[in-house]
């Protein structure tokens, strides 16, 4: 009950509508912004939205330690469950731990093939029927389009949605005249959906820059609340 309500009322439905029903299996989305804007918070909110729908997710992290990631989930979950029945919250919490696996890799030590092998082992040998993979902390500056192609093809093969974050570094401008992040230019063929986040007047705005084959609407009626770190209308 509580879960259905949480899913129905989630501001992420606005994003889903903008994407004509969601990202879709075999597609790869990238959330790009400068460091510290709130990419991880957004990814975790998206992951929790899947978990509320009882859809298992694998959270792949290239940067943070496992306990940091768990803390992110705990914090965002607490924020979403604020003012709600503690018993219901505890039950939902148990479910989401069962449906979430965190896999941590070092990008310099683990090649993409190795990473995909491990994820596949989790899904097949571990019988963990994930349909969404969150990939946080992947360094696009050090990666190749070939790597990303392998991820996309892997998603297609196993019927997965893939959500990446991309950190935009260096001096301004980090975006080109059309709003595409410069660092992602070589990867655009592999990316179905591209969302950028920028902070103006203390508000973090989300813009849909690439929307599969459909025209991209640009700025979305969504923001990231800097206080709760939740995506909100």
């Amino acid at each position: 009950m509580v879960k259905t309500w949480l899913v129905k009322r989630s501001p992420l439905r606005i994003l889903e509508n903008a994407l004509q029903g969601g990202l879709g299996k075999g597609n790869l989305a990238v959330l790009a912004s400068r460091k510290g804007i709130g990419k991880t918070a957004c990814l975790v909110h998206i992951a929790l939205d899947r978990l509320f729908q009882d859809r298992p997710i694998i959270h792949v992290s290239y940067a943070s330690r496992v306990d940091y990631i768990i803390t992110w989930y705990e914090d965002i979950f607490k924020e979403i469950m604020k003012n709600r029945d503690a018993k219901a919250a505890a039950e939902i919490h148990d479910d989401l731990i069962r449906n979430r696996v965190i896999m941590n890799f070092k990008q310099d030590a683990a090649r993409t093939d190795r990473v995909l092998q491990s994820i596949e082992a989790m899904i097949t040998a571990g019988k963990f029927a994930a349909d969404t993979i969150i990939v946080d902390g992947y360094d696009f500056g050090a990666g190749t389009p070939e790597d990303l192609r392998k991820f996309r093809e892997f998603g297609l093969k196993l019927g997965l949605e893939l959500w990446f974050s991309a950190s935009l570094r260096g001096e301004a401008p980090v975006l080109d005249e059309k709003g595409f992040p410069l660092v992602l230019r070589p990867f655009l063929d592999e990316i179905s959906v591209l969302i950028t986040m920028d902070s103006r007047n203390d508000l973090v705005r989300l813009s849909l820059i690439k929307n599969k084959d459909a025209p991209a609407p640009g700025e979305l009626p969504l923001k990231l609340d800097p206080r709760t770190l939740l995506i909100a209308e």
Binding site: I97, I102, M103, A109, R114, S118, A121, M122, A125, G126
Partner: protein
Amino acid sequence: MKPDIMNMRNIGISAHIDSGKTTLTERILFYCKKIHKMHEVKGKDGVGATMDSMELERERGITISSASTNVDWFDHSINIIDTPGHVDFTIEVERALRVLDGAILVLCSVGGVQSQTITVDRQLRRYNVPVLAFVNKLDRVGANPIKVKNQLAESLNHNAVLMQLPIGLEDSLRGLVDLVRMKALYFDGPDGERIRVEDIPAEMFDEARARREEMLDAVSMFSDELMEAVLENRVTEDLIKAAVRRGTIDRKLIPVFMGSAYKNKGIQPLLDAVVDYLPNPAEVENVAHDIEEVGKEVKLAADPGAPCVALAFKLEDSVYGQLTYIRIYQGSVRKGTELYNTRTSKSFRVGRLIRMHADKMDDIDEASCGDIVVLFGIECASGDTFTDPGLNLTMTSIYVPEPVISLALTPADSKSSNSMAKALNRFTKEDPTFRSFVDPESKETIIKGMGELHLDVYIERMRREYKAAVQTGKPQVAYRETIGEPADFDYTHKKQTGGAGQFGKVVGRIEPLAGGNFEFVNSIKGGKIPREFIPSCEKGFRHALEKGPLIGFPITGIKVTLVDGQSHDVDSSDIAFQAAAREAFKQAYHRAKPFVLEPIMKVSVEGPAEFLGSVFGSLNQRRGVIVSSVEDGQFARVDAEVPLSEMFGYSTVLRTLTQGKAEFTMEFLKYGRAPAHVAEALKAEYEDKKKN
């Protein structure tokens, strides 16, 4: 001679099982001139390292009991408490940690931070023990101390700082660079006992300078004086040492030392570091609890003249009788004086007072606060507090986890039966996580502990040391029952069988209690149940919790509120109200959606990444929830939550699946709801047992 408290150190050596801890301890004893010949843990000479005093430990190559030994390093007196490495014996580790003021965390330079290191590190954190890291086995193929230092930072979130660099590695390991003195150290002589100090080899100088800068950057955070000195380029050894000491004692810094205990390299500088950077007993604040006033803490003074407070942290059997290892926190203990055991409220006279070295002992007349010494033939249990008569204090009770596994023991004959009883009496005194009792129904002797290996070791010891031939039953998981919803009760107990009758009526409700076993609330107004019978009601409810109606295991997580009742002037009694409460509970229990709880273990599997698929599969088959997997190049660690009942025999399975290349550790995490099919099977089993 009695050491001055400023010159005392109480340290432990904590480590992963194969990191070479016992060899390191052995070398420390050697350099401190306590032993004259060195042995290896699994030595060919059949003697075994001196600290491993038990035969079984020798055979398995592991150290189980934490013997304490005293050594002198120049003018300092160091007590070394040898802590066990296996996670099933964590109570021993935790008890040892309670009496330590500092620890050496030993890491293998090849294996680095492993799951057990993480467990040990968490324990060190819990007791706020300042730590030095020692990266051992630099002579091994694949040794990489820099990687290990980085792991300390990344995996354990420590502010780890290199204090040394290796000169050569693996089989070309020659010596160490001391980054404080900026000198090269070589360990000459057949046992590395002669230290030769030279200039840093030219080809290493740039690296050494860069690492020293790194170290000064990190260390100067703890001393303004050093920071200024760095800016003004007038850094001295003493300034660095003072800053490292500050950071280490505050647990904000872990200085990293290195060497090869096996090749006799790097041990003497490590001993210097113990003296330079770990606290003396007076620098550590210790508190005791007032027994008469619950919640009141009493700060203990590191003053030899103050009234004595000491903790018995370890018991050992010896040919001369029971040895009791004590740590003195306040005051002094003198031969011939009287001490008071605050648990048993009994006094005793201190007979012999001993300073211990692994298997040899020195008689002393007096020991004072900060020291660790041994008493002879004292009747006590480990964890007891001894004070001067007149004080009624207890040291913080050591956190004791509840046992999660049990099995039945049957002695083969009456001689074995006696020896078994003797052994159990001894083990349960030594180890509070190991318990034994006789099941009133089956009349079997049941032992309980923290895991399969934990019980195995005691059964082995029973056979070897006590010559008790015992047969063991199937290991049994400690299930629990609890309720899912509140339910009301309204029960009248009435009995009229001639003579005095029995009458008691109780009304109230039971409800789930999060984070507790049992809570009893009396909200009766107006004396409907006379005050003297309220404890009878509580007793009745407690009794009902001992054996749940579903599967016969204890019930936990229950709050009982008594709101109304009735009594009879003549027929009401203690017994009547106990019976009323017991029956009332049963009445409400079945309506409160009861269910079965099972112990869930936190399991960490480590091994080469190529076996991840098999590991995932094996955990999934065991109803495990995989929480995370971490891959670092070739190695992977998988953390999962798995029901204990599924973990029997897992070590064999894992060995087969991974060609013996993976290992696992587990510890109790929580109780979780058992799935319906498991609960149903347990219920059927219980019903069967009741019929027979």
